[in-house]
Symmetry: D3
Subunit: 332 residues, 6 copies
């Protein structure tokens, strides 16, 4: 059996705060003996659980990296009971490229778990987290946003799980995160997700979608920072009360008809924005032809009542792209 | 002297509504006798001035293309007194690529006027508009937004001009546009701009910045559509009253210190958002290192009091990129 | 076991004519929730066999796509007894790129069967056809031509099979196709071919080579359209007589020495054309050096008597490219 | 004034036969002191005129390179009265890339004459031929074919010129070439052509279109070789009679409506082939949508009576590409 | 089980000297029926062992290819007792690209053994050598140098093996090679190496590092040629004495701390050169920031006493690249 | 007239030491309001001449950048009499890419002087140095090495100039540099060189070639640092004696036959190394075919007696590349 060649440059189990890297040897045309160096911070003190905090699973989503740089800088080991492992840029080559997937192997990290110890770099990283890092953790927070091509209402999310105790623990952690919205998700195609890899090891798991478009704002960055501190408080690793802005809104994506797909290539003309309440049949976008004037646009009606929770971000769209997601509002 | 090879496929001076193209012959590896086909609509009726409406000067800015497709579709020649020439995708190759500059010659159209009749495609288009299209017009509206890498408060703008009568006419048209914000601009480097080319021919000129990030919203698209109709009413080409949301805010960018540049490569952590009022010395962003944790961020303070009117959009920044623009508020 | 994520957007088993897509979710940098949309037509009526008609297995071969668009447009369900499933662009990303192999994963679809449900897009498509579409069919017609780099005499073909009844049924269908030429093929490396995948499921299978060079002609398109109608008549799905131009010529490629390979890089100077009868030892091409004059060309002699049935199409050749194929004439 | 840095490695004015290069210094990332080496043959003997024979003006047109390699190899100086200068690969970088335009500077050589001595490589080559090589010649034969994206009936051609004596001399040389077709051409955009550069120096000039698609055939190569020998005989440089197949057909392209352009992107379905006689209004092609079935094709009717003399070669077409040229038959 | 499609164009077991290719069919966009043609020479005579000599495992290492071209040209079969199989460019596509890894599949050949018969081209070549070529050999010499990104003291090397008899035979062959240095290597990650594949079949194996930087010198080429002749004499295939320059230096790389990694991106300022003796703590390089002046460089101290045996070659370095290797001197 | 948009971020005429940038606005797809930031250090004190020290004219030459970073860091303003302006990375985009020419416009900076204020970035930089920076200087030292594709004996150089006083001043400065070799150069094609631009303004100018291959060594870096200090001492800006290793060797490249060009593509087999003395007719390299074994190599003989002063660095060579330069030894 092949052994995963990734090695940390710092100890993962020493008290105090240490900054280093996960070093992944990567021989390539421009450096025969080169490496991928994934930044890593470990903050440990006394007894308590281990939290694994990850950002940059997709390389063009920025709220997680910002929050985790801030936390790695701010948290004093003396505040901690247990251990916090921080990896702001999980798919580091994708993060440096500002791209969803790695420029090295074009692999979407969040569909390649449990990875392969002898695979291409993205698979090696997935494998190392699956086999080494996640088993160390009691609770895992993996940040996502929409990236360059999607935009989301800011929410933390938990999955419907077969183990209802585990699900309840996850939902409690999601509520602790205290994003403006929370989402219950039923993944249709969960194979290969980091989420699934973590949940199948029985861990408490929180994921998020905190905005998108390949940018972050002062507002979304603040939600991300507050959320991580809240989750660490909820886990007992940091002291203090959960901070919230208010009760938040609980959403659900109950079925396939939440998703609206483009049936033509073209220029999107949005008729409703993120957070707008819409009713079934209401046009939510037009698609104008990209190559001529004087031709009628295609109109895309809402499949159902609800709130626009996600949308295609770039101004151009291709046939088959998801244009928008309309979610149910469970509690307001 | 070389003759510009661009030809319209429809007459530009016939009453009624016609949809066609500006055909630019373009011989290339994948089509020896190919063309660039720039969509064009002409709506003409009776006597009156000519308005030239253009979008897609930069190919990743979408409010203009949306508004101009909608107007080309909606406007009935019977409503018109004069002529409306609509070109939603001025730099058509850039628009199809979803990019600021043309993928063919990598030229920024808005710095290459007056172009060249025997130049590469972007220069040929610029030359054709400079020599043929702009001389036909009394008033020109050229739409811009921030594109994929900048984001703006939504405004229409006029330049400080030497001819104060012309300036007043431009400002009146900008006010007619009725965007939430209006901006007086003093270009430091106006050489090669379409704006300068139009203004130097003595025309009334309106430009805009209506958002950015390489997307449009229902809100920004509505501002763009309303603005063009308002300008056409102002010019007497359409009938009816100017529609507004309220008085709007007049801004000014009086000096070099409005611009804030990144001094390091890294991950932007915004501390203030578009539209936020800030005071001199207040940190408006941090820049975290992209390659490690445990290093202090660089903080970027506001150079002056004002409102954040523009910002770098992508989550990563390079040394020398404009991070933010702080504008003066002239009227509120 | 991973489930193939491809889903049709229309029912495959309803009477009448329906046009839709096979939707393959494809997350990528430019659309996180994007899809590959493979066009599909189903025409069904009453009882009868199912024919699966496919083009675009290689994306630069055009007779199949043309014929299948024409048939999808022309055939009235009332004409049909049974079902016709039409997929003009099997490897849709390759077809849109005008390339033999997919630009997404660089995989040659016709060497990757039975594919993988969790593989890259080309493998997913192959797997879906292997597991879902082919099992629905009684007879499969898969169109090929030479693509951008080969040119062929127009023929339909069957393989020598172990099951002689199946082989006879395939040959009968090939004769029904009524191309100017017919070919008996003994594949040396049949692993991964769609042909093999279909034949191993016991189906009647017809393949073709109808020209090449990355183009089609009025003549080759007409052969392709007539051939499909003939095969559907032969299968009893359409009514009417087989249409032919005459008896056709039966060819055979009995051995390795039919293939002629370039032994130098260079400029091809052809000395015999497609369809020319040649005898062993006759020079069929010269290869001139690409970098200088005054050097003797390499001459390539015919290995055997026969007819030039295929040739390298581009003017330049690399050492190891197949320059020409000389076939035996079984019947004239 | 800048001096063109190109230098021949052999003398251009010595009796006998010499093979060498035009050396163009070209500093680049992969060779700081590299060169572009353009193959060249000079065959000279006794008194007589000078013929300059060029191929590879566009790099994907092969009849010229083949014929010129053959002639450079075959012709014995003893046969010659005067001088033959042979350059089979004029735009050598384009020829090596198998592309119409140079991969170095993306410039179409046949629109950049008279070039520039201090320009990019294609401009330097054009300038050297304009200033040094053409002035040495009495007669110039420049081979063209359709390249990878066009296909032509095989013809030699002359232009309508203001100097009718020069025109008559050119037409006589074209008739001597004895291609199956001859063409009188009235260039609409002759600026920058090699043709124009040669004609403006008062030389006898013959150009050709001998096929296309980025390939050559035994048939088209033979026409090209015979044509050059005939032109050299006509000029008195070689002895012997003109060889012909018959009288040939004289064609004319009298106006803009000879050209037929695609109005949609899509898959071309040809309804008439090269050499077919068509009448005005007859559909010559359909364009099927590239992204779906069940949509009506666009039909392209003939603008006029005549013969299909040229056509778009690749199976896919873009809006604005020239689909076909219909020529008048002057003599049959 | 899939059969590897590679076939030699010459017999591998005939007496005399034959030059040919290993032909690997490779269907691709630019040649549907193309091949990768790997040059091969076999020199056989009488009884005796078989030596397999390979270069170009990495495509940017030149001493092996030079030596093997020279030997394939020079050696007279009459000199030989046994058989010499010479493959100068093992990863031929990488060699032609001047790159470490293949441009076709981006695979590092020396980490993909035993390869796959149905894999991408690099894997197919590895599999063919593993299954067909190595089993024919008694002794294998595989040349390496540093390639474009590393530079080495010139040495031949053997591995520490579990079978001490096999190790002794390898060390004897290494000493016979008579490079200026010899190295004992303990591979930390030997999975997938050609070395391991050969050693696990019980063969005598010699590898080398003979310089680097993507170049060769007269000096390093001479070492490579002499070394192969020496190894063939040692094996009894050629007659004559081992040629040496002197006793040579025996080196060892006993542990992880021999390797020195860059901790910053930047400009390398070397403070010690290849072959320099250094002591622990001595600075061996500075790394200057690539983007500004006025910032202190990072200094890299030697981890241990020894000799600089390898170094990063390009002037720029990335965090995680190996900057230098310091070896122990066993004998001087 | 267009004004060059480059601006320094620090004052160029203030006493003390300041580090900053030349900021060149550069609008592009990935940053609409981006800049090229060229690092700059100014060290000034009291009266005295101005020296301009530049590296990175070609981006893959490292001795200059290393020396200039070291000097910018080390020199105390108190040591200085006059002013030192240091620009380690003149063509900054090329330097960051590790490439000879800029990745933005593919322009060789050292052939584009005097540049253009409205040109592409490389031309703008050249223009700014020509018009602003050079006029400020009394003496200019511009570092070169061979880059990735050439290797040189380490020398400083002066040109034969029409003004013999200026020439003598340059030669004196070259001797002060005290490289192991000095070279008198007669440029054949001096148009567009920085050298020419500086010399034509009457300045004292020193250039160098200090190694190559795209790397630096401890040895070559030390020569570069010492040389700059020596030149500054020579100019009276720093105090102290010139440091030398010995008298040095004076070389000359008197004619075209110093240059040896490859006449074939292939694998270089060097037979003489840098610094070797060779005599006319002696083979200095073989070129082996890159695609087969068993073919005789081409041998390249020395055109003249002398010393190998420069050579092609990469292992592969193309026809027309400069293989080697043989210089005359004036003094030893």
């Amino acid at each position: 059996m092949t052994i995963n060649p990734i090695r940390p440059t710092i100890a993962l189990d020493q008290p105090g705060k240490a900054h280093g890297f996960l070093r992944l040897p990567h021989s390539r045309n421009d450096s025969a003996w080169g490496s991928v160096m994934i930044p890593l911070t470990v903050i440990a003190n006394g007894d308590g659980p281990t939290a694994l905090l990850t950002g940059g699973n997709h390389g063009d989503e920025y709220e997680g990296p910002i929050a985790l740089q801030q936390l790695a800088w701010d948290i004093d080991p003396a505040e901690v009971s247990g251990r916090i492992i921080i990896v702001p840029y999980l798919n580091y080559p994708a993060f440096r490229a500002g791209a969803r997937v790695s420029p090295i192997d074009q692999i979407n990290m969040n569909r390649c778990f449990p990875g392969r110890a002898d695979g291409s770099p993205t698979r090696k990283i997935a494998n190392y987290f699956n086999d080494v890092m996640v088993p160390m953790a009691d609770i895992v927070l993996d940040y996502h946003s929409g990236g360059k091509t999607l935009d989301f209402l800011p929410y933390a999310a938990a999955h419907y799980l077969e183990n209802k105790d585990q699900q309840a623990a996850c939902v409690a952690a999601v509520r602790a995160f205290a994003a403006p919205y929370s989402m219950m998700m039923r993944e249709i195609d969960a194979v290969g997700m980091f989420d699934t890899a973590v949940e199948s090891q029985g861990k408490v798991f929180v994921t998020t979608e905190l905005g998108g478009g390949g940018t972050a704002t002062a507002r979304s960055a603040a939600i991300a920072i507050r959320g991580a501190r809240n989750v660490l408080r909820h886990a007992g690793i940091l002291a203090g009360e959960i901070e919230t802005e208010g009760p938040g809104v609980m959403l659900d994506m109950p079925g396939e008809d939440c998703f609206h797909f483009a049936t033509r290539d073209g220029l999107i003309h949005p008729l409703a924005d993120l957070g707008d309440r819409v009713h079934a049949g209401q046009p939510i976008a037009r698609i104008w032809p990209p190559d001529r004037t004087g031709t009628a646009p295609v109109e895309v009606p809402a499949n159902r009542d609800g709130v626009i929770a996600a949308r295609h971000f770039p101004g151009l769209v291709q046939c088959g792209d998801c244009l928008a997601v309309i979610a149910d509002i469970l509690t307001d």
